[in-house]
């Protein structure tokens, strides 16, 4: 053992008390100071468990069988108090909402130092320095719950950095951020590492992290480390189906594989049908009770055959806009028509048979003792017959890849699985339009690509709309893009038009991805946007 290494893991295995199989097995790791180490892998591969062993939550908060050892700055974790560990390792969780405790930014950032019993003047100075370092001094006196997603993530990071840890552990820090905020967060991480901090970052959006040139990449699968090395050589060792690699790497690797099957979206919409819009927004304005106007004069239509990606920064009004389509919110002025009828005259339950809405957070809707009953709830409310409900449930389970889990209690499942149950619960209702609010958040790449492929090709939907921060999802699946900013739809058109304008992307806090760039480059040849695997088989091998 070399004492200088900030983090050493030796032969570490852990099994949660409630599980039969170990979550991680025989992990060996030694990290050099001032490096960024990217830890990638699909959900359930053991990333979070490894982090919990490093920051001391295992075995203090999570019980089970541990073997092996973890050293921080040459001191074994099991011999250290949580107070000492928290000064050595700072942990930023995936969702800042689950981490922020203080009601005001100042108190939140000061929380750890208050607990360590520092003098008031020293705390104030440390808080001010940390806020200044992250360029968020202006947020100091704001209430934490009123911050945007990106601001919350930075404040959560500030709360950890104020304690001046040597090692920073980040668990999927980009999940809830718009692309520009994600890039800012990543740049910040690079700066911290350059200043001497050791960073261990868990993320399956590998492409985004590669931009800040991590010194090392670890790839985990089934609780074990399968690859450990420089990012340049990861392409050969990492399965491009499991984590999101840059387009160039996939283009190179996918040529050797069989071409992916062509996606034939919305087969139901291809049939002849009346051309009346399914949903229509007419000069819709909306404001909350506080008097703040969120939507300003929105005119829109959802037509048969539309696969719409709704893009825009955190807090732009995307969710507010979509909640009008299902009647959960009613316009202050203007009209929303669903099937030609004003939502003021319809109950949400009536609209639900036309428009299925998947909420962002699954934990707000799951209640039934089994997955089967959970999925039957919606169709039963819509008075479908028991036989039809049986078929709807089986098909939905298949699409989200949860066959075999029908009798499992949804509340005992992982977050990713719960999210898929929440999507299946709406699929089972067989509405004509499907609306999903950030369907891929908290999901791993492999799973969300699989269910997006299946959902798009379902025979029941006439239109699909999804809110996302992931431009690539718009590139691969959408035939129409709405860009929403400051309560207005600032662009509405086909992806190749809307996403071509770099300046427009920048002002809407979007960052072009390598897949978008590759598609734009080859567009004269392909005349259509494709996934990287699809593109690999449509362009000449020499390119």
């Amino acid at each position: 053992m070399t004492a200088i290494s900030p983090l050493i893991v030796e032969g570490l295995s852990f099994r949660y008390r409630s599980r039969e199989l170990p979550a991680i097995q025989d992990i060996n790791l030694s990290i050099e100071p001032a490096q960024i180490v990217l830890l990638a892998g699909a959900s359930g591969c053991g990333k979070t468990t490894l982090i919990r062993c490093i920051n001391g939550l295992i075995p203090r908060s999570y019980k089970g069988d541990v073997s092996g050892r973890v050293w921080l700055q040459g001191q074994e974790v099991k011999d250290l108090s949580l107070a000492r560990i928290s000064q050595l390792v700072g942990t930023v969780l995936q969702d800042p909402e689950r981490q922020i405790l203080g009601s005001v930014v100042m108190n939140e950032v000061a929380f750890g130092l208050e607990n360590l019993g520092w003098e008031r003047a020293a705390i104030r100075q440390a808080v001010d320095e940390t806020l200044a370092r992250l360029n968020i001094s202006h947020l100091r006196d704001r209430q934490t719950h009123s911050l945007s997603g990106g601001e919350k993530q930075k404040v959560a990071l500030a709360g950890v950095l104020a304690m001046r840890p040597n090692i920073l552990v980040l668990d999927e820090p980009l999940a809830s951020l718009d692309p520009a905020s994600a890039q800012e967060a990543l740049d910040l991480v690079r700066t911290l590492a350059d200043e001497g901090m050791t960073v261990l970052m868990v993320e399956h959006r590998v492409e985004d992290v590669l931009r800040i040139q991590p010194e090392r990449v670890l790839f985990m699968q089934d609780g074990r480390i399968r690859f450990d090395g420089r990012p340049e050589v990861m392409q050969k060792n990492v399965d491009y189906h499991e984590v999101k690699l840059p387009a160039a790497m996939i283009l190179a690797a996918a040529r050797a594989d069989a071409p992916p099957s062509e996606i034939n979206p919305l087969p139901a919409a291809a049939q002849d049908a009346p051309l009346a819009p399914l949903v229509q927004f007419k000069d819709v304005t909306f404001g909350y009770e506080s008097g703040l106007e969120v939507l300003h004069g929105v005119d829109l239509q959802i037509n048969r055959g539309d696969v719409i990606a709704v893009l825009g920064p955190n807090g732009a009004g995307k969710t507010t806009l979509i909640k009008h389509a299902i009647g959960l919110l009613k316009p202050t002025s203007g009209q929303v028509l669903v099937n030609g009828r004003d939502t003021h005259q319809l109950s949400v339950a009536e609209i639900a048979s036309t428009l299925g809405y998947v909420f962002q957070s699954p934990s707000h809707m799951l209640f039934a003792p089994t997955v089967r009953e959970e999925l039957a709830f919606g169709p039963t409310n819509l008075k479908h017959s028991p036989q039809v409900i049986g078929e709807e449930v089986s098909q939905a389970v298949e699409i989200v890849n949860l066959v075999g889990f029908e009798e499992t209690p949804p509340l005992s499942m992982s977050f990713g699985q719960q999210k898929r149950v929440s999507i299946a619960a709406i699929l089972a209702m067989r509405s004509r339009i499907l609306v999903m609010d950030e369907p891929t958040a908290g999901q791993d790449y492999k799973n969300y690509m699989a269910f997006m492929n299946s959902i798009l090709q379902l025979p029941t939907f006439e239109a699909i709309l999804f809110i996302t921060h992931d431009i690539d999802l718009a590139v691969i699946y959408a035939n129409r893009v709405w860009m929403v900013n400051q309560g207005q739809v600032v662009a509405d058109g086909v992806p190749q038009e809307v996403l071509r304008d770099q300046e427009r992307l920048r002002t809407n806090r979007l960052v072009p991805t390598s897949l978008l760039q590759a598609n734009l480059d080859y567009f004269p040849m392909t005349q259509k946007f494709y996934s990287a695997e699809g593109l690999a088989h449509r362009i000449p091998a020499g390119d």
Partner: protein, 289 residues
């Protein structure tokens, strides 16, 4: 994450005091109010309440929902007590009948009859004023107490660190619970669930409420586990804690506490001397005669 009540800094009487001083005064006020059943005493305390409400700087539109909810609740129960004649019987021994209204129908041989007596009227009116005073003073607190000061306020009142921080979290848990409830209600409505159409007996109703109750409860449990993890990761409870915010008593705060203590002392004194018991004005007794 925890959200806070709709506090904002206002130029108002209540916010001009140290929150600890206000909480002490509030406790004295509550104790005094529950000591008396004399309408005249309650009216005096109600005037004090109204002065606080009217100088609070909180717009009616901001508090509208809370007022409608609590007002509706108080009026409903006062009316119910009045109509059924239950409650208050320990306060008076004899009743003076003003009017007896009998229904012109019977239900299974029972004829509903409303007996209006001078005592019942005064009991209902006094109850109404009394509960309104208590409720009004309570409603003001979340709007007027800076969330950043919750913890230090309770610490300053002598509670240990852990309990004071726990109180801080609890104060913020209530509005967070409300927000989670709304989110769940919306998510289930989007699945065709109609709360309005729930029918059946007590057990059937509770069972049909499961789509609301289960997610909200589970979410609350999971959130509290997250909160515990987040606190552990930042060394909460490892030793004596520094509270960044500092509260300092000024002269006006001491005067308010003195006034609060005087109020409760005076009230206890009056009460022991037999003042402030249930009172019926002469004109009502005359009407009964």
């Amino acid at each position: 994450m925890l959200v806070t009540w709709r506090y904002k800094p206002r130029k108002s009487l209540i916010q001009s005091f140290d929150p600890r001083a206000w909480i002490i005064f509030y406790a004295c006020f509550l104790a005094s109010t529950v000591l008396f059943w004399d309408f005249r005493y309650q009216a005096a305390l109600f005037i004090l309440t109204m002065i606080t409400v009217l100088t609070s700087g909180i717009k009616f539109s901001e508090m509208k929902r809370a007022w409608i909810f609590i007002g509706g609740f108080v009026i409903f129960f006062s009316l119910l007590t009045f109509l059924t004649g239950r409650g208050g019987v320990e306060l008076y021994k004899e009743e003076h009948l003003i009017s007896r209204l009998a229904a012109n129908f019977t239900i299974l041989g029972w004829r509903p009859t409303l007996t209006i007596t001078a005592e019942k009227i005064m009991y209902a009116v006094t109850m109404l004023v009394r509960v309104f005073s208590l409720a009004s003073m309570t409603i003001l607190i979340p709007y007027s107490l800076n969330p950043a000061h919750y913890g230090i306020t309770f610490r300053g009142l002598g509670l240990p660190d852990k309990v004071a921080y726990g109180m801080d979290l609890t104060m913020r848990f209530i509005p967070s619970f409300g927000r989670d409830f709304m989110l769940t209600r919306d998510a289930q409505r989007a699945r065709g669930y109609e709360l309005e159409k729930i029918t059946g007996g007590l057990f059937a109703t509770v069972r049909k409420l499961a789509p609301l109750i289960v997610p909200v409860t589970i979410h609350a449990i999971v959130s509290s586990e997250d909160i515990i993890d987040a606190m552990d990761l930042r060394a909460f409870g490892v030793g004596p804690r520094t509270w960044l915010e500092q509260l300092v008593y000024r002269k006006r705060d001491r005067l308010l506490i003195a006034f609060g203590i005087f109020l409760i002392g005076f009230s206890i004194g009056l009460s022991l001397l037999g003042f402030g018991k249930f009172w019926v004005p002469q004109f009502l007794l005359a009407a009964a005669a």
